[in-house]
């Protein structure tokens, strides 16, 4: 595992990774500064039916929506919701998946194996299918979207870590540590974990993009954050009945999703190249 400054420096040398980093930073900054940079911060909740469905203009950069709110401001605030959902969901998946993967991979105890079988159950259908079922069951809210995404995403991390740990256990330096009588807890935390950190980070970055797309799909299907939350997927779905006249309604949130997912994907690819030379071989020669 390399130090953070080294990693960053190497990342910046790769143009597409740098672009990804820039896009992610852009969206993060937009999310943080949303209340200050949005021209109509009240647009998140205040409605003015008289202004509805206005095309883009100097007053309304991206036009207005069906409730007469400024779409530009809503897209900015939407970045907060999107990033929050993805961060918490991926974070929770990490917190569940990594320990299970470590434990199941290291101890050969049957419970560990059983947990991996449980993860297989979740991997036996495409994520979106289970996520829809769970989100629909629990009712639409940000918390439930996060829950649905975490419950269906942790097996990916468990799987990844499990495979890495099983491979590592056969490495000489680990076998040596075991032979020397180093307590298992210390081996796992000091030797195994740092070695699986790189693939985890890469997976997490790609996972952010993936999770944002799934969350937006849930929003689009009406199973996401409820109104007036400016959730991008739901904004796109709202726009449908006003097409083709109000093309701007669908455009802005879609581009926003594209930018942030593109950012995380490019960043993930870049990180893979820098952090994980093994994978680099097959992906970027």
């Amino acid at each position: 595992m390399k130090s953070v400054p080294t990693t960053l420096r190497q990342l910046m040398r790769d143009r597409s990774a740098a672009l990804g980093f820039f896009l992610v930073v852009l969206v993060v900054v937009a999310a943080i500064l949303a209340p200050w940079i949005s021209p109509h911060p009240e647009a998140v909740w205040d409605m003015n039916p008289a202004n509805r469905l206005k095309p883009p203009s100097r007053t309304w950069l991206f036009g207005t929506d069906r409730m007469g709110a400024d779409i530009f401001s809503r897209v900015l605030f939407g970045a907060r919701i999107t990033l929050m959902i993805a961060l918490v969901a991926v974070g929770a998946s990490l917190l569940i998946g990594v320990p299970i993967g470590l434990w199941a991979g290291w101890s050969e105890w049957w419970i560990g194996e059983a947990l991996m079988r449980v993860s297989d159950v979740f991997l036996a259908v495409p994520q979106i299918v289970l996520a829809i079922a769970i989100a629909q069951t629990l009712g639409p809210s940000i918390e439930n979207v996060i829950l649905a995404l975490s419950v269906t995403y942790w097996p990916w991390f468990a799987r990844l870590v499990y495979a890495e740990v099983r491979a590592l256990k056969r490495e000489t330096f680990i076998e040596a540590a075991i032979a020397l009588g180093v307590p298992p807890r210390r081996i796992v935390l000091q030797h195994v974990l740092p070695n699986v950190a790189s693939p985890i980070i890469v997976r997490a970055s790609i996972g952010m993009g993936f999770t944002i797309l799934t969350a937006a799909s849930l929003g689009f299907l009406g199973l996401g954050a409820p109104p007036p939350a400016p959730e991008w997927g739901r904004m796109i779905s709202e726009s449908r009945e006003f097409l083709p006249e109000t093309w701007w309604y669908a455009l802005a949130p879609g581009v926003a999703i594209f930018i942030v997912v593109m950012g995380f994907n490019l960043l993930g690819d870049g990180l893979r190249d820098v952090l994980d030379p093994r994978l680099r071989r097959s992906h970027d020669r």
Partner: protein, 529 residues
């Protein structure tokens, strides 16, 4: 075989025939197929999952019942009038318990057998046994075995108690061909499996094709007892097309000749501007409303409920969001029906007045109120958002939650699970005030889909009971008017608009007769000009 004969004819004759074909093709470009038959294709807003007339009691699937089946009576024209249909005449006994219908002679099912009184008896028994659709309403007034065929042309129904609305729902006893249905019974299912995809009716059109994923096609029944005008449509097709844009574009392209669903003002404008279709307009009866759960604090306090009534931007919604295509309806009864007092102005959008009411209310609002809209219904969602906005200005926090129809109906069943505020519509199932105020506010109806108020007011209950037992409409109207006044003052709900009906049809389609029950989907009288 005219094509074969063509070979031996002269070039002139050949050219004449070709010209004939060309004019047919020209007709085709006007929205009809290139055959001599006239076709009408309707894009319905929801799917036709079943063809059985006895399991559905809704507007979305009414086209099957109106076109393929007949009843004793039928709601016709606008304002809706109940007219004898297969019945020639009817009589009600003095005690209001026995209804005797005299049938027309010579009415035939599609297979040529005669419609007899026994078929109506079987049809009612079938409705009650299947327990779906209109059965629940019938069960409140008539028991199985209480319908009797006196002779082939006389059918008699004996009610358990007098009911002013029995006649209003008699049209739902769509007559089915007893012999045919019985022949297709499996495990005593009253032919349910077979009837869901076939037909056994006597209606103006005969079912020829049905696919639940697409819709149904029916061909004209030349022997229909009502007879036909000089012009008519030979074949009708009803398709389920859930996406609004597809429906609108299809009509503009000529793929469809009529559209269902309540379109937004800008879509109607688009259709009119296209020049391909025209929009028929009529008064209708479908009230958009919010129902408050009156059992829980703070909404158990009438002052809080009155304050809430001042928090909705009625004009912003009706005029801006809906583009003025609806009319404000200040009471739970549609403006256009009898029994609704004409002088009630209702509540207005007034934040300050609302705040004042809240100040004097005994209940304090110490939690966010839950506003539930129907998932997939953009209008109810926008109303929820607008209401949330008004409440916030009044200092009340709220959560807007989308809930699918089956879920919300289940939640209504108990006061504890009923949402604080639910936004939806009550359409015309039968044109009687009981359809709205009777089922919405009588305490006995609490928990049904029409009653999420769980409202209990003995005075209102008594008035509504008297209104159903009385038979004279003038007397009944008085009871309803009084009930409406009490309810509006007590504000267990919030009433937004009564819809107008906008029916987009092909430009050359004529003869469409609108009725609030049926929304202009009875095609018997329609034709192309």
């Amino acid at each position: 075989m005219p094509i074969l004969r063509l070979r031996g004819t002269t070039a002139v004759a050949r050219r004449l025939v070709l010209a004939g074909f060309a004019s047919l093709a020209l007709l085709g470009s006007l929205g009809q197929t290139a055959t001599a038959q006239t076709r009408f294709v309707f894009a319905n807003e929801s799917d036709f999952d079943t063809m059985d007339p006895h399991v559905a009691f809704d507007v979305g699937r009414i086209a099957v019942r109106l076109n393929v089946y007949d009843g004793l009576m039928r709601w016709q024209s606008n304002p809706a009038k109940l007219e004898p249909w297969i019945a020639e005449s009817y009589a009600i006994s003095k005690d209001g318990l026995t209804y005797t219908f005299k049938l027309r002679k010579g009415v035939k099912f599609h297979d040529g057998s005669e419609v007899k009184a026994a078929d109506f008896v079987y049809s009612l028994e079938r409705i009650l046994a299947l327990g779906k659709g209109a059965a629940s309403l019938f069960k409140t007034m008539i028991d199985p075995g209480k319908a009797k065929a006196v002779d082939d042309t006389t059918v008699e129904f004996t009610l358990t108690k007098p009911s002013a609305i029995f006649l209003a729902i008699v049209p739902e006893i769509h007559v089915v061909n007893t012999t045919l249905v019985k022949k297709n019974e499996v495990n005593n299912d009253w032919g349910a499996a077979w009837m869901s995809k076939s037909s056994a009716g006597s209606g103006a059109y005969k079912l020829t094709q049905f696919d639940p994923a697409i819709g149904f096609v029916a061909a004209r029944n030349p022997d229909h007892f009502k007879g036909w005008g000089p012009k008519f449509i030979d074949e009708i097709e009803f398709r389920g097309v859930k996406d609004t844009n597809t429906r609108v574009l299809g009509l503009m392209k000529g793929d469809f000749n009529g559209l269902g669903g309540y379109l937004q003002a800008d879509q109607l404008k688009r259709i009119e501007e296209s020049g391909k279709a025209k929009v028929h307009e009529a008064e209708s009866m479908r009230v958009m409303m919010m129902q408050f759960n009156t059992t829980r604090a703070p909404l158990n306090d009438p002052d809080v409920r009155r304050a809430l009534n001042q928090a909705f931007d009625y004009d912003g919604f009706n005029k801006n969001i809906l583009g003025g295509q609806v009319e404000r309806n200040p009471t739970p009864l549609p403006n256009t029906i009898w029994g609704n007092p004409k002088d009630i102005k209702g509540y207005a959008f007034d934040i300050e007045k609302g705040k004042a009411l809240l100040a004097k209310a005994s209940a304090k609002i110490d939690r966010p109120l839950e506003i539930h809209f129907l998932t997939g219904f953009g209008q109810s969602e926008q109303a929820a958002q607008l209401f949330q906005n008004g409440l916030q200005k009044m200092g009340i926090q709220s959560k807007v939650i989308g809930t699918p129809w089956p879920t919300i109906v289940e939640r209504f069943s108990k006061p504890e699970t009923t949402p604080d505020i639910s936004i939806y519509w009550i359409s015309t199932y039968y044109a009687d005030p009981h359809n709205w105020i009777g089922e919405m506010f009588h305490s006995s109806g609490a928990g049904t889909f029409k009653n999420a108020h769980h409202y209990k007011n003995p005075k209102v209950d008594a008035l509504l009971d008297k209104a159903v037992e009385a038979t004279d409409q003038a007397v009944r109207a008085k009871y309803y008017e009084e009930a409406v006044r009490i309810v509006v003052d007590d504000a267990p709900g919030l009433w937004i608009y009564n819809t107008k009906w906008y029916g987009p049809y092909s430009k050359n389609l004529a003869g469409v007769v609108f009725c609030p029950i049926g929304n202009g989907l009875e095609m018997r009288t329609a034709y192309y000009e």
